[in-house]
Point group: C2
Chain length 111, copies 2
DNA sequence: CGACACGCTACAATATCCGTAGCAACCCGG
DNA sequence: CCGGGTTGCTACGGATATTGTAGCGTGTCG
């Protein structure tokens, strides 16, 4: 027993612990944004998610998934796979404009 | 001479290279989101920024700043410090709702 | 000149992440 | 019941990314 995930709740880059810092820290861990992005429109099994994320390491994917579940953004539905919770969906809405932005951004990426 | 920053343009987690992946990858590097956040309303000198970021390592801060400058989100105005470009400001707008979201999120963080 | 700020870098230690392999549990057809 | 497939998840050694401390060269001001 005793999952060895040692309380990741300590925000890495902030002494204040303001929620926004907590959130910013969570979101800027490797694959976190990507996972939310891939889950934005469909449920995926852990392996399908792995495939969607260019075969990222299952180690780190599981770690992120656990964090996202603890944060209440992602849930695991048995026999269905991972998906966003209503809260997670809200968070994801925030990033949808990012897609359009990214497209426009590329335009000026002529250099 | 010869800055040893070895062309970080390779997107880490994507074989497709879609702009959104490029952006997602950039944003999920340590301190990137934080830097954008701290710069959202004011110009900061490199040292002020460092202070604002809980004394993050100047090494990585410079690296992120360079990336953000190459991406066209951040600029260095001599004798004024770092600030967002119009493009960077647009990107930051995307994250403003994040603040309110983070506050609401904390509420359910009773565990 | 001396004291201070600036942007930025070197370098060793550490934390994080990657890639591969593989576990136990489950389902399903034979 | 057994073999072959899936699932979620973990171990572990090596590769990267990040940290912390110190300090460079430049500019500015008294």
């Amino acid at each position: 027993m005793a999952r060895q995930v040692p309380k990741r709740r300590n925000v890495r880059g902030s002494r204040t612990g303001r929620p926004i810092m907590l959130l910013l820290d969570l979101l800027s861990r490797r694959w976190t944004l990507r996972i939310l992005w891939e889950l934005r429109s469909e449920r995926l099994t852990s392996r399908a998610l792995r495939t969607a994320c260019d075969d990222a390491s299952p180690t780190i994917l599981q770690a992120r998934l656990t964090e996202l579940r603890e944060a209440g953004f992602v849930e695991l539905v048995p026999a269905e796979g991972y998906g966003l919770t209503p809260l997670g969906r809200e968070l994801c809405e925030t990033f949808l404009p990012l897609h359009r932005f990214a497209e426009r951004w590329r335009k000026r990426e002529g250099d």
